[in-house]
């Protein structure tokens, strides 16, 4: 093995050492984000704030999608119930911010558990359609319970000054949101490398093997949905505060498709890949909207191009390119996006 580029995965397994380069990169990114308000305009802060919040959503989504290999098209519901918990709690019911955070996470977790249990007997496209149906039922409730939710008009006037690190303006909230997302992302990473997180990842590779090894596969699938739901709802809550508004669009299924695009375009197989996808798509939206009204067309083409030419995402493409140089026989972890979905129902009980 005389490769010139050291490959961590080929070294003896690091037993207690976290990957220092990874930690350094993460710290650098957070610090860079923290200084954005000092060097950039309010408009840029708004854009970056949106990326940060959607970034958390994409990471949470990828627990179910990239790790556990369950193609959910219902995650907008998990995100949106967090938004509505925030809007209803703060504006309608006059709750404190602490109560709202707890409520958003709790309702996201519960809906996640419900989705996880409901989808136990399904996989592949049937899981996708079932999660879509559940999310649409939630959307229907928000849309039509006008007296409570304001229906199509939504709930406006959410006070983001309640969650702040310095002042009651945009910047104070930006820092607070960044802090929340950083802690949440660290927790999600800890989940990913934990025993339960590794088992969740293994669910996507071979459920029958997991059963043979003594793991109750169903409970790990539900766990994935619960964790994903909790952090999706947290992201939804932050989004409601960032935009000071919540409406049915926070639950719309197009958002579920978009978060899947984030994950695939960035690279669903890696932990941080979805963040790359968020930056690319949300960044493109800002740039494109500057010179044309036809953003939906560009977004549509982005879907097509991504799935045709970058099914493993930017991160997957980069690592393939890197590994391809030193060992053509060793395929990188192929994202399962390009694979055909498994049959409707697992053959086993």
């Amino acid at each position: 093995m005389s490769s010139t580029t050291p490959d961590l995965r080929r070294q003896p397994d690091p037993r207690r050492q976290p990957d220092l380069r990874l930690v350094a990169l993460a710290v650098a990114v957070v610090v860079a984000l923290a200084v954005v308000p000092f060097v950039a305009s309010t408009y840029v802060v708004t854009v970056v704030l949106r990326m940060v919040v959607l970034g958390l959503f994409a990471l949470a989504f990828n627990v179910v999608f990239g790790a556990a290999d369950m193609p959910s098209l219902g995650h907008a519901a998990l995100f949106g119930v967090g938004s509505y918990a925030c809007g209803l709690g703060l504006v309608r019911w006059g709750w404190g911010i602490g109560t709202v955070v707890v409520a958003a996470v709790a309702v996201g977790t519960l809906l996640g558990i419900l989705m996880g249990i409901a989808t136990l007997r399904t996989q592949g496209i049937y899981l996708l359609l079932l999660t879509l149906a559940i999310a649409q039922a939630v959307w229907g409730l928000a849309f039509q319970q006008v007296r409570l939710t304001g229906g199509d008009n939504g709930i406006a006037g959410i006070d983001r000054g309640l969650l702040t690190l310095g002042g009651d303006g945009l910047v104070g909230f930006y820092w607070a949101a960044l802090a929340v997302v950083t802690v949440a992302a660290a927790l999600l990473y800890a989940f990913r490398i934990s025993i339960v997180g590794t088992v969740v990842e293994a669910v996507g590779m071979s459920p029958s093997r997991l059963r043979a090894l003594g793991f109750a596969v169903g409970s790990y699938r539900v766990t994935a949905f619960a964790v994903s739901g909790a952090f999706s709802a947290l992201a939804g809550m932050l989004m409601a505060m960032a935009t000071r508004f919540v409406g049915p669009e926070n639950l719309a299924w197009q958002l579920s498709a978009e978060v899947m695009l984030f994950a695939i375009l960035g690279g669903a197989a890696s932990f941080a890949g979805p963040l790359v996808g968020v930056v690319l798509v949300a960044g493109a939206e800002v740039v494109v909207s500057d010179w044309t009204d036809r953003w939906p067309t560009v977004l549509g083409l982005l879907y097509v191009v991504t799935l045709l030419f970058l099914p493993d995402g930017v991160v997957g493409w980069l690592s393939q390119w890197r590994d391809g140089r030193d060992d053509p026989d060793r395929p990188t972890r192929a994202s399962r996006v390009g694979r055909s979905l498994p049959p409707a129902v697992e053959a086993e009980p």
Partner: protein, 281 residues
Amino acid sequence: MLNGLSFGGLLFLLASGLTLTFGMMRTVNLAHGAFYALGGYLALAVIRASGSYLLGLVVAVAVVAVVGVVLERVVLQRVAGRELPQIMITVGIAYVIGDVVLAVWGGRPQTLPRPPGLDGVLNLGSLTFPWFRLGLLVLAVVVYLVLQRSLADTLVGARIRAAVDDDETARAVGIDVGMLFAVTFAAGSGLAAFAGVWGGAFTGLRPGTEWDILLLALIVVVVGGLGSIRGAFVAALLVGLLDEFGKWLFPSFALFTLYAPVAVLLALRPRGLFGREERVA
């Protein structure tokens, strides 16, 4: 009741095309609703320009069928058998079509004229039935019978099934799989446009129609069971009635009463009502 049934008829029309492409060819086309909207708008433009309803209908169906074939040949072929890429790509296509429609026809809601000769109402004692709705129901039954006949019992149906199950072998026995899929996809897309022309007169056309229609069509196909034309027919009528009664009984829960039972059904019977015992046609 007739409202619900005729709405069910419309649902079947728009779901029948999806059953062909999604159910039989195993190609998921989430641009189906966009084809519906595109068909409706095209027909509207041609009818306004020429004054001929029939010409509008024919042009709409033909153009959308061609768009469908191009999509299938150029793009979807590359992800044959892989459903997730198909889903995401066709969502993208739907965005593009929806945006183009918006750019060309603007955001104002539009209504298509009714087919000539179906304007009045039928009076039966104290009950009145609009001819248009009766016509829609009859049309749905006709399309159902034609599809059922042409797919279940004929060589064409057998060939599609053979090609979907094993395209290598199908090629080996002389079936032109590419042509067969192109024709099937053209038929599915054309049916979407056909439904759009009728539906444009029933529920109107507006931005976002492409998504609303897609979700309804998906519900019907999935509840009926993938690939089952009979299932789609029964499911369309069921969903039409469910929607009608839902609106009537629980007006503020109508969307919930539409989607929640679908979710429950899928959780308990992932293959839908007719999915297991009748895998094809």
